[in-house]
């Protein structure tokens, strides 16, 4: 038997935390997808060697504190305004790497205009879109992406289109715009999916380097607290109910 101190030698290390991720303890709930996406985003920033040139724009939503976890310069935007903030940054600092990180309420409800017009101008930025079908931060209210029949605190008996309107497929809309070069929908509930999402992020930042236009990486996500499920059940519910409506894969890749 090896002693613990023999095992944790640097030469035995097969995996470690990227230094781009800070040591702050994350405030996310168990099972939340935000933490996983933060981790792979930080890894991508490290592996691409872009930490010193990257400026992030955090949303209002559960990821409002993203700047506590990823060790780069950040702007904390007003609710929904991240794509306009990113436009201001990127237009004035075209050599830097600029991304927004937004929830579905932020990106597809209050910030719809900013999202569509930034994409339609083909702003050379990356948009990371966490679609958990609910307003996590404010306690589980209906989001523009809440699927039909899904309960939320402001539609406790399930989303009813006659009253609540229909769930919005924002990525499908953005894929129709000439300004976008890459629109993909991914998930992070299995190791294989995590790897695919990470690849998508790399591609999105590479597009930005090549000045190809707006890249959108949607991540269909769970919110076990908002959905009132255990993390395991939330993953299963997402696979069974969200994926048939929000189909994974590339919607546009130019």
């Amino acid at each position: 038997m090896l002693e613990i101190n023999d095992i944790i030698k640097p030469e035995n290390l097969v995996y470690g935390k990227t230094p781009v991720l800070t040591d702050s303890v994350m405030h996310y709930c168990p099972g939340c997808s935000h933490g996983v996406v933060h981790k792979i985003l930080a890894q991508v920033i490290e592996e691409m060697g872009i930490q010193e040139q990257t400026i992030g724009v955090a949303p209002v939503g559960c990821a409002v504190f993203a700047y506590n976890y990823i060790d780069i310069d950040w702007h904390e935007a007003a609710h929904g305004r991240a794509p306009a903030v990113a436009t201001g940054i990127k237009r004035l600092l075209p050599e830097k790497m600029v991304f927004t990180y937004q929830g579905d309420g932020d990106l597809a409800a209050i910030g719809t205009a900013e999202t569509i017009h930034a994409c339609n101008r083909g702003e050379n930025i990356v948009i990371i879109f966490i679609n958990n079908g609910i307003y996590g931060m404010t306690g589980g209210q209906m989001a523009p992406t809440t699927i039909e029949g899904m309960p939320a605190s402001t539609c406790p008996f399930g989303r009813t289109p006659e009253r609540d309107g229909y769930p919005l497929k924002m990525s499908e809309i953005l894929a129709t715009l000439p300004g976008t070069c890459y629109v993909t929908r991914q998930a992070v509930h299995t190791a294989a999916h995590v790897r695919k999402t990470k690849k998508a992020l790399v591609k999105a930042f590479e597009n930005q380097k090549m000045r190809k236009g707006t890249s959108i990486v949607e991540v269909v996500s769970t919110c076990s607290s908002g959905w009132k499920m255990t993390p395991v059940n939330a993953n299963k519910w997402m696979v069974d109910n969200m994926f048939p409506f929000y189909k994974l894969g590339d919607l546009k890749n130019e």
């Binding site: 930490q51 010193e52 040139q53 990257t54 400026i55 724009v57 955090a58 409002v64 700047y67 060790d71 780069i72 310069d73 950040w74 702007h75 904390e76 935007a77 007003a78 305004r81 306009a84 903030v85 990113a86 436009t87 201001g88 940054i89 990127k90 237009r91 004035l92 600092l93 830097k96 205009a113 900013e114 017009h117």
Partner: protein, 361 residues
Amino acid sequence: MGEDIKLMKGNEAIAEAAIRIGVDGYFGYPITPQSEVMETLMAKQPWDTTGMVVLQAESEIASINMLYGGGGCGKKVMTSSSSPGISLMQEGLTYLAGAEVPCLVVNVVRGGPGLGTIQPAQSDYFQAVKGGGHGDYSLIVLAPASVQEMADHVKLGFDLAFKYRNPVMILSDGVIGQMMEKVVLPSAKSRWTEEEIKELNPWATLGKPKTRERNVITSLKLQSDEMEEHNHKLQAKYQRMKEEEVLFEEFNCADAQYLIVAYGSSSRVCQKTVEIARDKGIKLGLLRPITLFPFPSDRIYELAQQVKGILSVEMSAGQMVEDVRLSVNGKVPVYHYGRLGGMVPSPSEVLKAVDEKLIGG
């Protein structure tokens, strides 16, 4: 010919001055009576000369948030609009003030409320001077009264915005924006380099080198004690502005028995009123605030020891008059005279009000 004197509109002067003093970015959305600002910039194509970015945004909400992005990077960014558009910017302005992001916002005021009129008014004084958005904050508010000052206040505005890390508003109106006058434009200055920005604005988000902590532009402090501390810091800053940055101009105040307080285009009208009054032997003076925040309260208080009454003349239902009353603190009567909805008072009309309210009263 020494000086380069040009004839132009106030709105054009804003644009010309912006290019010359090395502004990095303009973001805006068209609205009368100020669309010439962006039109002039687009026609000049400054991106080919100084490298200045000019972008038409999808709304005023987007423009002000583009300023939040650009200003947070330590760049000189500005927008212009008129009243309804400035209302849409209030959310952004409170975030900029809270996160201490410098920027310049020009309001070429038109009459309201609502869609109102495209004619000039001064009815956005409260919105500009008392905050406008939520929370305890103040903008620095400049009130140009000529095309020359429209040009000059662009540089002054940016100097103050960066000195205090605070948004600055030029509170103009449709008269000053549209009228043509002679103007001497500021001398050309190149834009800051990235090295200069790092040196001057160490808080700017230009990408985090290994040698410093990350820079975060944010107005969020969830812990009440931290948020209170942040508020105290902001209040101390506003107090320092009150001590150091008050600007005003006086006409015939030295021996005045009656005083008008008026800013912007109203002050131009009232200057004429003072001339007519003096011809008639009435000892009337005019104090013109150039900064509306900070307000020239101390000087108005001093003058209140000497005059018999004060008239605040504004193209509004009476907004600045409240600050004049607060300055005077009951020492002498303070009245208001104003026209509304896009009407501009005439000098003789103001003199009649002086006669009825101050002298007769």
